[in-house]
């Protein structure tokens, strides 16, 4: 029962991540479930769902189908839908019940591809992992299937990886990053997965560098590095003072071909362990948290800043003393730890805060609080985060 959530909702799961990653690909996406998981995805995890006509369906899995393993029923439904939709690709996305009964989603996709004649994918998502894993496996599958070697762009060019809707919600953060890139002389070959098309996907290897803007993009960056030798930079420039350093690093990666991570090396106090109430704790997705840390440090924060990873932690993106917060108990212990006087986290996490004298800065994340706080999320790039910090400094953060 250690992983029981009492106050927090379940965070966005892997099947939502996979379905979300395919949202812009004209993909007939079928969540293989009874309807609850599809409801989660379209109702809470995918900010772009309402008002769109993206073909996302529920397989309508029923008890007898699960018991009998009636794959043909699902295959027939998908083939029938594809006749009228004529999608460019098809995806079967797993959920907890197919996982329990050992449903062969990859095999089903193989059969569908044979019969429908369009590329088809089966994702073994289970609902037991977080959205970032789903985004990763879907993006990796797209890269393996469609990306081809092509000539390098004549001007400096990047792909943006990990730009998924659950991490960036409805904020214009990625648009701002693209504008900054353009101002610095970089073109953008592909943004993945939000805004991706088959054309940009196929020609991703034209880019000189992959920019990884969330943990969900790291696996794809490694895949493109291993297959095509494209180096990657992990990180985001939150806060105006970070921008020169960030773009300096990007240029260095482009010229040297050596991968780098922005936001983990520092010569200031934050390499110290937080002690005696002087520390800052930033909780959330690891790459965004690193970016917030850099912005806060550049803003003059004297105390150590520690990142608490909500959806899993990559060692290569860590500073010493960063922590993985695997469940509500660990989140609660960290958020109430007396070593930290200031906490940045999704507003829902404030429910766990017992000490009202702590400063709590809300950073909404769609994978935690969904649409409830989505409109409060800031454009964190190009000074947006500085303005956000300044506005918060002028009021009592704990009353937010």
């Amino acid at each position: 029962m250690a992983r029981l959530s009492i106050l927090l909702p379940p965070f966005s799961p892997d099947y939502s991540g996979a379905a979300s990653a395919l949202f812009d690909m004209n993909c007939l996406t079928v969540l293989h479930d009874a309807s609850g998981c599809t409801g989660n995805f379209i109702g809470f995890d995918e900010p772009r769902w309402y008002g769109t006509h993206v073909p996302v369906y529920c397989s309508g899995l029923r008890e007898i189908d699960a018991i009998m393993g009636d794959d043909e029923k699902l295959i027939a439904k998908v083939l029938s839908a594809q006749k009228s939709i004529n999608a460019d690709m098809i995806a079967i996305v797993g959920s907890p019940v197919p996982m329990i009964v050992g449903c062969d989603v990859a095999g089903i996709a193989h059969e569908i591809e044979e019969r429908a004649g369009v590329p088809s994918f089966g994702f073994d998502t289970t609902g037991l992992r977080y959205y970032d894993y789903g985004v990763s496996i879907a993006c990796d599958a797209l890269v393996k299937r469609f990306v081809r070697p092509c000539a390098k762009s004549s001007e400096p060019s990047v792909n943006i990886l990990g730009a998924d809707a659950i991490d960036f919600g409805i904020t214009p953060t990625i648009a701002s990053l693209r504008r900054l890139l353009a101002e610095s002389g970089y073109s953008c070959s592909a943004v993945m997965p939000c805004g991706l098309s088959l054309d940009t996907l196929t020609n991703m290897t034209a880019a000189h560098v992959n920019l990884v803007v969330s943990r969900s993009g790291l696996s794809t960056a490694k895949l493109l590095h291993d297959r095509y030798g494209i180096p990657y930079l992990v990180g985001l420039p939150y806060g105006e003072k970070c921008i020169p350093e960030y773009f300096g690093m990007l240029e260095q990666v482009r010229r040297s071909g050596v991968n780098a991570v922005y936001g983990i090396s520092s010569d200031n106090s934050s390499l110290r362990k937080a002690e005696n109430g002087g520390g800052v704790l930033v909780i959330g997705e690891q790459v965004a948290c690193n970016a917030i840390r850099m912005a806060v440090e550049k803003d003059g924060e004297p105390g150590p800043v520690t990142v608490g990873c909500l959806f899993g932690m990559e060692q290569e993106l860590c500073r010493p003393y960063d922590v993985n917060l695997a469940d509500e108990k660990e989140i609660s212990e960290a958020i109430n730890d007396n070593r930290y006087s200031t906490v940045f986290a999704d507003p829902f996490l404030k429910w766990l805060l017992r000490n009202v004298s702590k400063r709590f800065f809300p950073i909404p994340h769609y994978g935690v609080s969904s649409k409830i706080h989505a409109r409060e999320a800031a454009d964190s790039i190009d000074g947006g985060f500085d303005a956000y910090l300044a506005s918060l400094e002028n009021r009592d953060a704990t009353n937010l």
Partner: protein
Amino acid sequence: MKKIAIYGKGGIGKSTTTANVAAALSSQGFKVMQVGCDPKADSTQLLMHGKKIPSVLDQIKEKGEDVELADIAYTGFGGVVCVESGGPTPGIGCAGRGIIAAFNKLEELHAYEEFRPDVVLYDVLGDVVCGGFAMPIRDGYAEEVIIVTSGERMALFAAGNIVLAIDNFKKRGYARLAGIVQNSRKIDNEDEIVRTFAEQAGSRILQVIPRAQIVQEAEALDRTVVEAFPDSPQSACYKELAKKIMEGSANV
């Protein structure tokens, strides 16, 4: 790496045959890995000289995320890497899901990359009873299936179900039937019965293993025949099967 799943009715002699083939292959210089896919977790006992090794699922239950490769893979006779997927106590839990969880753990711990076996033998319980028990013949695992059967009606019935499952998976590009091993029970017209079955399945008999007391004698010593009585005709029979498997003559 050659990956072969060995299926057949419970009690027909799959584990004995598999362990003897593993021992024979190792004596021919191959690096072998044997994965028992049965909740009883006794596939590798002869290779481990009677020692019952902890199963993957028992270790996951006990150690959670801290399970390491050394906790689940043990070296048996001839350097054969022995793994038991394990499973729940009869009457509770879900054995099929257990096999999937065990296979996922082997992948997660990079077992195949670490041991780099020339041959992996999956010794799979009785029949393809649910999705989990078909896991060893799904994409990425065994490319070939060998069915062990006798001429007895129930053994042939189970073998027929396995052929059906393989046929069903053919459109998914999965494992193909490489052949039938006849583990003889000395019933009337046994050779003829099994040969007819193989023909009807579109396959052929790879090896006829005669019923011999020496198998029980070796088992009483907690050894394979290949180890305990290496110069016996029965040992030669297992070695011949192993040779056929590696030469690819098993392909139909």
